[in-house]
Symmetry: D2
Subunit: 363 residues, 4 copies
């Protein structure tokens, strides 16, 4: 067996390309050996950026698995695949993840597992049947240095007992209409954007904290066509937990300055903010109209390092059989909350849960 983790990437869209390059260039203990995409433009990109480094390109996912999972002979031969990164369209995340698990592979699946809770649950069940394989649904912020610093400080007692959690995911305004087309499959703004914030709330409050109520509102301020998909471009959601805890979320598709994802955790003895003041470079420009600071323009501009850490830690967990730092079940919990927020947005109703977190029938 290789002393490197032999990895393939499925899907070479925006995130797939990044994952491929992270494993190729910035994950010393991994070897990217194969990539799958049926898309001609993505194939062309792969021929230029991956093939010269020995990465084999497949246009059929099943064929890739069949060929690459043959027994390992040496680093330069086909075979010995150990892990799959699933970065295709959300609609096929679940089936491809399940297929890879059943083929004996570790899997790093881009979020979300699915926008459908039942399908996502099936992924979790499948993973549970293969306990020796690592299955990670990547919530990138858990790999971010700043969030980890926040987590360490909270655990050290720096803010007392966390009670209120506020978090936002705000994308730069994209006037192209991209977000309207995207909304058809994204699951809606709470599932697509705030799912990261929800995951963080569960991380800081504890995965097992039962939900008490959920409500959400939203507006379409710049993209009225989002209404066709029951979606909005600005959403505000509130999740009340049993045990005196509240998380509230904001997401937006119309930030003028760039990407601004931030979080505050308020405890009985202090408060932590993460990225309250976003940083592009360390340059300030003092011009006639004042002092100007640029901020990151997109999600990757903010979280690039976190994705690389994720690739490296996933690799290490697979090679050394270490536990992953986030449980797959958590991805499902976040999805459930996101889906109920989206439901509340659409119905206008507040939704209640009993002390075990079981949803109550409508009054």
């Amino acid at each position: 067996m290789s002393r490197f983790l032999r990895v393939a990437v499925a899907g070479l869209g925006r995130m797939g390309k990044r994952h491929a390059l992270h494993f190729l260039q910035s994950t010393p203990r991994a070897h990217l050996v194969a990539a799958f995409t049926p898309d001609p433009a993505e194939i062309a990109w792969a021929k230029e950026h991956l093939e010269p480094f020995g990465v084999r390109i497949y246009t059929d996912y099943t064929a890739l698995i069949a060929a690459e999972t043959k027994p390992f002979t040496d680093e330069d031969s086909v075979g010995g695949l150990q892990a799959m990164v699933v970065a295709t369209a959300t609609t096929v995340h679940a089936e491809e993840t399940i297929e890879a698990i059943e083929a004996g592979l570790h899997v790093l699946c881009e979020k979300p597992l699915s926008t459908n809770i039942e399908i996502a649950a099936k992924v979790v069940e499948t993973a549970q049947k293969y306990p020796k394989q690592k299955v990670l649904c990547g919530f990138s912020r858990r790999f971010d240095t700043s969030y980890r610093d926040a987590k360490a400080k909270v655990e050290s007692g720096a803010i007392g007992n966390p009670a209120i959690f506020r978090s936002q995911t705000c994308d730069k305004l994209d006037p192209s209409g991209f977000f309207v087309a995207y909304a058809e499959f994204s699951g809606g703004i709470f599932v697509d954007c705030n799912i990261h914030d929800i995951d963080l709330a569960l991380w800081f409050f504890g995965d097992e904290t039962p939900i008490k109520s959920i409500s959400a509102v939203g507006v379409t301020a710049v993209q009225p066509d989002l209404a066709k998909h029951g979606d909005v471009d600005n959403g505000v959601g509130v999740v009340e937990f049993w045990g005196n805890k509240i998380a509230y979320f904001y997401s937006s598709r119309m930030m003028a300055s760039g990407q601004h994802d931030m979080t505050e955790i308020i405890g009985t003895e202090g408060k932590i903010t993460v990225n309250q003041n976003p940083i592009g470079t360390l340059v300030d420009l003092w011009e006639a109209t004042g002092i100007r600071k640029e901020i990151p323009q997109d999600y990757y501009g903010r979280f690039r390092e976190a994705f690389i850490t994720e690739a490296n830690e996933f690799t290490e967990a697979c090679l050394d059989d270490k536990p992953l730092k986030s449980r797959l079940q958590g991805a499902l919990s976040a999805l459930v909350i996101g889906s109920v927020l989206q439901e509340s947005l659409r119905s206008g109703k507040k939704i209640y849960f009993d002390e075990k977190g079981q949803r109550l029938p409508e009054a």
Copy 2:
């Protein structure tokens, strides 16, 4: 008639003392001529700080009005009172304001007019019967340089069309139990704290924007005894407006660092934050544990200048018969929203309004 505005202050508690000194020392066009308080400690304070400057002290409100409203003879005599500042306990704001109006005085009443909507409405009605007299319910933030800068920028189109409004009022943790006793009469955290934020939302969205829905949640993280008064020490409230606008609010009684009141107004083309990074002095201390900045410790530390501006502009409006910059009706609207938020907090229910802003019966 005096060319100075002759003013009396009723109540010399925390805010009353400040109003008295602002009119005495920092409002060049006003003369503080009288003060009312029945409280021995406050009387003692007044004898030391006000009496030496010619301010007459009364222990009976009606007696003050009777004596001081006699015809004006000269600056050093009793008589000629033109304006009353009502800064007594909230429970008597309304009746004293009405009494002063009916005695022909201009009135600056501390917020809130009342915690009871009907009583507050009666103040508004009374004021409407005396249109020549100025009646101001002071929302100090409208007099703050920074909020005015924000308002001017929004009106100049700097952020496009405002759609989302977030605002918070966070008090420094006071472990003495003060807030529990205070909660009995305060009307609750949304009426007491967030009423400023609500007033700002109405200022930025327009006073006439009809409400669509209101919901609120809260926790008692440090003062469980607040539950006795149906109150909390951390509250999150969401107000949806017809016309694609949302305001959401946070209030807290447990900020470790000090007072942190901040606002963000998010528009289709930009965003404005007010006091995102609070400033004590302009000193940063670079010590072994990092860079430390101190912040204001209380509301007055943040808004002192705004209170002085309020005193001066109220004085100018009275002397020169200029319109006040904020309508009394707005104070009532803010109170209504605050009360419904508090009601929603207590019932756990979301409350709905029709397109004219009329409350809908529960489903």
Copy 3:
């Protein structure tokens, strides 16, 4: 005698107007009773802004003193003048200050006492002959809340032993050519701008710290005509003190964003910065090009409160015979250092002092 300090202001130029209004409106224990200016435009301003409040206007300085120093009868009569604020052109500061002192008045003289060291020294000598009168040369920053906070922190040991001091005075670019005309009488950029920073260095290091060496350089980047007056629009000066201390200074006439005066005091155990990040209002504007903060546009925008504190503390010192917080001798010491910096700028030479701070002959 009046229980208010009866004050006159000489000179109603930019600073004179401000001093007049501060004493008129924001100094409760003072009464502005008279003002002197020979300038027709300033007289017109005074007729509008001062005369209605009972301030008598004089076009002759000596006449003002003669009339206003008659015995006090009552608040509304001529006489009883106790203090003079000298805010005329720098060239007459000294003679007017001396005249006022000799007439028995307390004096608050705008900085500098003179640009000529011998003349300034004469003012100090005169003041020493009248020890019951307060004579203050106002270095406004010593009255600033932030600098006082810094001073208190240093004295409490927060940064250990101060060793390095950096301070700058940077004016907003003024393309009108004002600074060229002004340079004829200003004494040069180190005497005009950095004198504040020099005064602060003496405050933080101790007035008695002997100088070891002085050197300065400068450039004319935007106003080449400054060279006519031996001046520059950007200057860098270094003052070495005996006892292991260094102060270095920067001044500029071409800041694009506005006024930026800042200081850092570096000690063996920490560092304090004052106004590293200047604040206009508390508004941040998040627009397409980034986050923009406006800063104060001029010296008064930064230090208005300090000037008012100065007026009030000067008044208190006069009325209650309290010591002033800054010694007149210090103003002279700052002037000496500023003048030697300007000399070094012009000669290009470094200038040395012995361990007692006595200047050494050129090598």
Copy 4:
């Protein structure tokens, strides 16, 4: 020939280890094939961290070159070395660099080439004889995203014409006495710390800008024993250039909070600051004493990414025969300025240069 750049690292001290790991793990187009160190502790480290990845370890520099420069056969064999990273003690930088150049290798030499100007000049001469080989003296800040952003903005005219340049290098206080021992060979604080700032000044003003004068002062505030080596723990230096430009520098060994290297470039129409407000993580901790931000603790904490960029760009320049972005001559110019600053510090004298930048004899 390998399509990867085959690299060896000489020296595995603090910086050598980092270079080795950067080339091993984070430079996709390079292969680290060998490392040299005579130090037993460093050898032990290499056996653990490098050898398992196929890196051969040598205890003799010449032997390494002899063995590794044999003709290339395949990736896993000895031979085909193309580049050397010199990260040994400063005292042997020059001779090892020359030896490597003469052996036909590209060289990345840690700064400084030497603390002796003549020796450094010899390196430059040698490099000029081998124009096909890349020889880089790494000034890491030129590879930093923020400095590059600043450079791009300056070149785009964002601040008009740069006139004043201020830059500092401040190390965290190290009470162990390390800096005293280090001073024996470091060349002094201006050569060791401010050389980066000097290099930046040349970058922003232009390498060819002739010097007009140099002066420096310094103190020993925490490490009096530095005096033994003619060194200080806090230095202030001023470099005047012909053509109306000034650069001034500060360096310190006693920053309490951590590493703070910052720069400001002041132009006729604006100003740029780089790292005015240093960032550790994006976490702010709001605690009872205020808001606290942690900052990077050492040089590497600030510039890690820049070192990796340097490794990658050096690799690319070697493989693709592209020009390096910084000229070796520049490293020599920076050294000359640093040395003269250090000389001025020691003599207390200001040193002058004619309009061609030639040093003038002492007056």
